[in-house]
Symmetry: C2
Subunit: 127 residues, 2 copies
């Protein structure tokens, strides 16, 4: 049983996961290139981070070739849920409704987006 599930990625680890979620797979260098557009840390830092994440089970890798290829091993959705849950508890007194209202009220949403939310809301109300 892969017990890697409730390991909470650190901030830097999330940055890396974003790249992997986005691209599907990537070499250390590719990850590093992307990160370095908005952050400056050396190549070996990224490498080390990926190695640590590998040990934690946050990423998989194909090391059958010289230049390893990395993949996310935790889904974006699960990670989102994990952090949402944490946030709801720590900052919204456990009320996901409060969080929703906050997000709705304090951010811009286009007409289309509002409609999309309305759809979901309708579905929920039916039950």
């Amino acid at each position: 049983m892969a017990t890697s599930k409730n390991i909470k990625p650190t901030e830097s680890e999330i940055e890396i996961l974003r790249v992997l979620w986005d691209k599907g797979k990537a070499t250390v260098r590719e990850v590093h290139e992307i990160l370095s557009t908005h952050k400056d840390a050396g190549y070996t830092t990224t490498l080390k981070l990926l190695q640590i994440m590998f040990e934690k089970g946050l990423v998989k890798r194909d090391d059958s070739i010289k230049t390893h290829i990395y993949f996310a091993n935790v889904s974006k959705e699960i990670t989102q849920k994990q952090f949402m849950g944490k946030m709801i508890n720590s900052l919204f007194s456990g009320s996901s409704t409060q969080l929703v209202m906050q997000a709705l009220g304090n951010h811009q949403h286009s007409k289309e987006e509002l409609e999309e939310i309305q759809q979901l809301l309708n579905n929920l109300k039916k039950k």
Copy 2:
């Protein structure tokens, strides 16, 4: 200009802020009593944390009396926004709509809560 605004509280600091937001004000001992119901760290740990938070400007205190009284110096709302923003960027590709949908879809909401959300949604749609 109090520049204390974009200091991001750490995890432990948030736990403390929750108590202060909830109670309005509290002594170190009161904070500690509450925290110790779900966490075990010594009294001086809580004290030190509050002192650090004071230096950072996260809390105010009345130290005109022997047993100091602490108050939050950052609002819950602003802190919520701050963390929401961070989360939207790091985990929802900048889309607050996605976050809203996630929270709506993956958590329980009572009929009344759904209605409350509907109200807000109606308001937003008007504009």
